[in-house]
């Protein structure tokens, strides 16, 4: 993971390391930290593909206001991955277009 090893001012206290999947691939991240952070640390930059022009999108504002980082998480689309905490075993997928809202909750 691409984490900052030594910082002149800050000390980072990460929570528990957990495994999740991104498009079927196993990855590691820290529980309770935003999904987008875990993806970025694993060098994943593309989170979704737009409906009309098929443009790749990643994150932009990181505070849940811009919609660039929407992904499908555990079957639910349009999840703001920049403010949604990672849980062990989460299934994170690239969102294509507007996504399909599941008829039943997870």
């Amino acid at each position: 993971m691409e984490l900052i090893q030594k910082h002149p001012i800050l000390e980072f206290h990460h929570g528990k390391e957990v495994t999740f999947t991104f498009d079927g691939k196993d990855m590691k991240g820290f529980e309770g930290e935003p999904i987008a952070m875990a993806l970025h640390a694993n060098d994943v930059r593309i989170y979704r593909v737009t409906p009309e022009m098929k443009r790749p999108r990643g994150f932009f504002c990181a505070i849940g206001k811009c919609s660039s980082c929407f992904m499908v998480v555990d079957g639910v689309p349009n999840v703001r991955t920049c403010v949604t905490p990672l849980e062990a075993g989460m299934k994170v997928e690239t969102q294509h277009g507007k996504g399909q809202v599941p008829l039943e909750a997870k």
């Binding site: 030594k6 910082h7 002149p8 001012i9």
Partner: protein, 174 residues
Amino acid sequence: MGCTCNSNDKEKLFCSGVLVENRPGAILPPQEAWEKKKGGYVVIECPQRIPCNPCATSCPTGAVKPFADINDVPSIDYEKCTGCGLCVAKCPGLACFVVDLTYGADEAVIKLPYELEPKPAKGQKVKCLNRTGEEVSEGEIYTVTEPLKDQTTVVSVVIPKKLVGEIRAIKVVC
């Protein structure tokens, strides 16, 4: 900021954060007294009026004169300056330095703030940078302290005396 920003090179540099000449808030100490002052004098490079005054409120002797208005630029009473360097550690803009011209015939010591990794160690040789980040000489680390225990390191570097008006940063190479 007080710059006209026509195509004059000096003004262009100043408008992008490079001091090119003395101005209020950014002056050198009086030369004669400076050459004799053991411990050095403070050199502040803060020429812009902004709402900020920790240099004055942290100075234990009042050498950085108390501000009448929080937007004032700093001004110095050299009689009171002991070269303690507390302002170097306190200034949020990293704009305070202490320069001691009495170290040697051709050498001076500059205290500057440092907040990067890797941290230098006493005796280590470092590159000395001018205000545009160009390497202009080598220097040797004299002391490394953290006076306010707040991750701002104050580094004393032995540098060529003729470059005291230029050197304002260091590059630590491992």
